[in-house]
Point group: C2
Chain length 177, copies 2
């Protein structure tokens, strides 16, 4: 497998930009753009930001520390993909964006404090679905997961104007995914 | 057709955030993320920002003014989707991001100065492929076009780590589009 593209610095570059990117993308938008979703059982912008907070608190770093621990059970807990429906209740998007910025800053500081070496990147934990996964794969997935949700947020916003674009939908891939 | 979601204010909300969103998303990234693309004949982050500058200068507003003109030829010029390969030459991403911010500010000021009324939104021009299109459809397509390229930029960046995520590709939709 080609893993020469991974570096911790590159990962931190991406993890560092996400809170401010989401703030600039969404904080000045009306609720028409941020509280609507793509249809039944899909997420609004508000839901996605809540999800990002939840997984930073419970998933990526927790799993990294299981991998790096000297011993103990190497199985990861399954992720609750719907936890934010409860934890975001009664909050505003502005509150969530602020919370995400704080949580992410703590995540990055803790990630750096782990002092991860090249050897550490090959250590493994046990994913509930995939089985053995390396720390390198986990940190890469965290990186891409941020970008996946930035892309999702752009798509959810775009979908609110789907009908309005008329024939242009043919040139606007984001409306057809 | 459902067009009750369109409003000029909503459109301006989206058009206004794009330059700063792209700046926060990309300006602190290394060239590994911003100068690589998704493979042969695809665009890098750098290429996409150049494209956004080009279409703001030559496409959306020019077409809006053709629609709003009291008379004259209502046909739109075809868009050159590759113009930025020439116009971006020798520039840095930082220069392009700054240029886009300036060009977009001018575009929004000009859009507002057109004083578009509800009646104007139903006026039409002739698209080289679609035939008759309304001003409402044009302005909606401009809005979604921004979001499409924000999503594309997130995808191009994500693809640089495609191999590194290992089995997680199954959960990361952005790597499979």
């Amino acid at each position: 497998m080609n893993t020469h593209n991974f570096s911790l610095n590159r990962t931190i570059e991406i993890l560092s930009q996400t809170p401010s990117t989401l703030e600039h993308l969404t904080s000045s938008l009306s609720e028409f753009w941020t509280m609507n979703n793509e249809g039944k059982d899909t997420w609004s912008v508000f839901d996605v930001v809540g999800h990002l907070i939840h997984v930073d608190k419970t998933d990526w770093l927790v799993r990294a520390k299981i991998i790096l621990a000297a011993g103990g059970d190497k199985h990861f807990e399954p992720l609750d993909r719907f936890a934010q429906l409860e934890s975001s209740k009664g909050k505003t998007l502005s509150v969530l964006l602020h919370e995400f910025k704080q949580v992410r800053t703590e995540s990055i500081n803790e990630l750096i404090s782990l002092g991860i070496t090249d050897d550490d990147l090959n250590k493994t934990g046990i994913h509930p679905k995939f089985g053995d996964v390396t720390l390198r794969q986990l940190l890469s997935a965290w990186t891409v997961h941020d970008l996946d949700h930035i892309s999702q947020i752009a798509r959810v916003i775009a979908k609110q104007y789907k009908e309005e674009t008329g024939p242009w939908i043919e040139f606007l891939k984001i409306l057809r995914t």
